[in-house]
């Protein structure tokens, strides 16, 4: 019988050594540990200072999209796969736009208010769907933003089809970049911290086996509400930020791009890793900017990438790179 060859994966020696506490004994091992963590931060900061002006604007949008992607990834790790991330974005956008337009509040008030209220309102909107699991939840989240869009179109509240414009702008590009980078790092490291804590383990357990969570005497509905609040508050921040960045808000806040982009970057980068979505967004953001002239054809490209990656490299780029970094492979 012909034996089939298979690939064997073994941890690199340095990985095995740096797993335990003695890793600080050698400079090489410290570098091995720190490099993957520090490199992306350094690269992003370098990019912020050294790219030309036009691409700085692109960078702001990319960072905001990366926050959306991270928040989607967080929700997906809690077992809440949303196909309507645009809903959360739009809620934040409309709240800050409304506060600014009707009440004349400055942005230092509207953006934080929109973040907090947006999370609460999105959680309330999603509440009926939270009792559903898996793909049933996804179906409802797909429907809600499209329906909300139609309600606004039909009732002409909040500016109707035209939306609201002439809102106060953010003070200068350096400020926007600083805020978006800080928010991105806060979201990334905050959620990482949260997911590795005890509460985070419960959130992860919601995805793996929510009936076990319920059997442990925890209120799964309330936990899901909390997860949605955290995830949607992040997106609402993005919405509020972009509202003031563009100085207007309209129905485009519900656009399908905004729902697809986070999913695409998560699948590209690796679902459930938090750093993967960042990687995916950093790849897809400039790419989509470069393809801007193609119009809606961009969605085709996103979706094609999605299909290719989900069938070809289901784990995503980030886990792939991580494996290459930590393990050696050989055929046996």
């Amino acid at each position: 019988m012909k034996e089939k060859r298979r690939r064997e994966r073994i941890d690199r020696p340095i990985k095995a050594v740096t797993d335990d506490i003695y890793c600080i004994s050698s400079f090489r091992e410290i570098v091995y540990l720190m490099l993957p963590r520090a490199l992306p931060i350094l690269l992003l900061l370098l990019a912020v200072f050294f790219v030309p002006l036009y691409w700085k604007k692109v960078l702001v949008i990319t960072f905001i999209m990366a926050i959306m992607a991270i928040s989607w990834d967080f929700l997906a790790s809690c077992g809440l796969i949303s196909l309507g991330q645009a809903l959360f974005f739009a809620v934040g956008a409309y709240i800050s736009g409304g506060l600014n337009h009707y009440l004349g509040l400055p942005i230092y008030v509207t953006v934080p208010m929109a973040t907090l209220m947006g999370g609460a309102i999105s959680a309330i909107l999603i509440l009926p769907a939270l009792r559903l699991r898996g793909m049933y939840f996804s179906m409802v989240t797909l429907i809600i933003p499209l329906m909300l869009m139609r309600i606004i179109e039909a009732t002409k509240i909040m500016g109707g089809t035209e939306g609201m414009s002439g809102l106060s702008s953010l003070p200068g590009l350096p400020f926007s970049i600083a805020v978006s980078v800080l928010a991105l790092f806060a979201a990334l490291f905050g959620l990482r911290r949260l997911l590795s804590s005890d509460n985070g383990m419960i959130f992860l357990a919601l995805k793996d086996n929510d009936r076990a969570v319920e059997a442990s005497g925890l209120n799964t509905l309330w936990l899901k509400v909390k997860a949605i609040y955290i995830g949607s508050a992040l997106c609402a921040f993005c919405g509020a930020f972009m509202t003031h960045y563009y100085m207007s808000v309209g129905l485009s806040a519900f656009a399908l791009d905004l729902s697809i982009f986070p999913i695409a970057s998560c699948v590209l980068g690796g679902v459930g890793t938090l750093a993967g979505p960042l990687l995916g967004a950093v790849i897809l953001g400039p790419l989509s900017e470069a393809l801007r002239s193609l119009g809606t054809f961009r969605i085709v490209i996103y979706s094609a990438l999605l299909v290719i990656f989900i069938a070809g490299l289901p784990e995503g780029i980030f886990p792939f790179l991580k494996r290459k970094y930590e393990q050696t492979e050989r055929w046996v």
Partner: protein
């Protein structure tokens, strides 16, 4: 009003039938449903107007092509992802988007993209004038549902479908290949939706945005009726159909798409498993 509500309900049921069938049997939520609908209509249009074939042949060709596409979708993509719900949802959704947005970027919009009705003219029923096309829709819809009922309950293949729907491991032990059946179910679902497109589209123009509406409507119908129960689909279609007609008559026609959402949210709050969903209730929802 009564008549239009009835017609509207049958249209909804027709749209949702393919989705519920696919989902009930293979547990694949086909998010490309709406785009297959538009694709079916467009292919018929292409064969009929551009290629100048007779109506019947172009309909058959379009339905066949969409069916094969559905089967290919399962065979080449979904079969790798069985059991990964996230991956299934995302990949079908992405495929649907590819089809729809590709059509949009090819500039498919406007009045020249419309199918002629099978038989023009209208007749009067209970005091209201109704186009014959709508009557054909009702007739064909009821006929299709009857056919499907007979097919599922009285043929070998249909019984195999139901077996897989109940438990695919057990089905495997009695010699039914669940992968093959799932592929066929996706094919049948796609054929059904393209057939309904051919029936319904002569009432209006073919537009890309229809794809999203159709997907939303079929989701709403299936969720309200409880997925995978054909009777539930019919009942939910009637609820939604009359609700839509009533709102557009008495409140505002622009709100008529909002009603399905509200219906759905209310029903989810009261009875999360849908009106008639019993099967595997606990596993799907809490």
């Amino acid at each position: 009003m009564l008549v239009y509500g009835f017609i509207n309900s049958i249209i909804l049921a027709l749209i949702a039938l393919g989705f519920s069938m696919t989902f009930g049997i293979s547990r694949v939520a086909n998010f490309a449903h709406g785009s297959l609908y538009v694709l079916g209509g467009l292919l018929t249009w292409f064969f009929l107007i551009k290629a100048g074939l007779p109506y019947v042949i172009s309909v058959i060709a379009a339905v066949m092509i969409v069916g094969v596409l559905g089967a290919a979708m399962y065979r080449f993509l979904l079969v790798r992802l069985r059991g990964l719900e996230l991956a299934e949802v995302i990949s079908t959704f992405a495929l649907g988007l590819i089809i729809l947005e590709l059509m949009r970027s090819m500039g498919i919009m406007g009045f020249q993209y419309r199918l002629p009705p099978f038989v023009p003219g209208s007749v009067s029923i209970m005091g209201t004038y109704v186009g014959i096309q709508r009557l054909i829709i009702v007739g064909a819809g009821l006929f299709l549902m009857g056919i499907i009922y007979l097919f599922v309950h009285h043929t070998r293949l249909g019984l195999a479908f139901r077996g897989v729907a109940q438990d695919d491991h057990t089905a495997l032990t009695v010699g039914i290949n669940p992968d093959r059946i799932s592929m066929l179910s996706l094919m049948v679902g796609s054929m059904l939706v393209s057939l309904s497109a051919v029936l319904i589209l002569p009432l209006g123009t073919i537009s890309v945005d229809d794809g999203y509406d159709i997907l939303l409507k079929s989701l709403a119908v299936c969720i309200i009726g409880g997925l995978e129960s054909t009777f539930g689909v019919l009942a939910a279609a009637f609820i939604l159909g009359y609700a839509e007609v009533l709102t557009s008559m008495y409140i505002s026609s622009s709100l008529s798409m909002v009603v399905p959402l509200l219906c759905m949210l209310v029903i989810l709050l009261i009875k999360p498993s849908g009106l008639f969903g019993k099967h595997k209730e606990l596993e799907e929802r809490i």
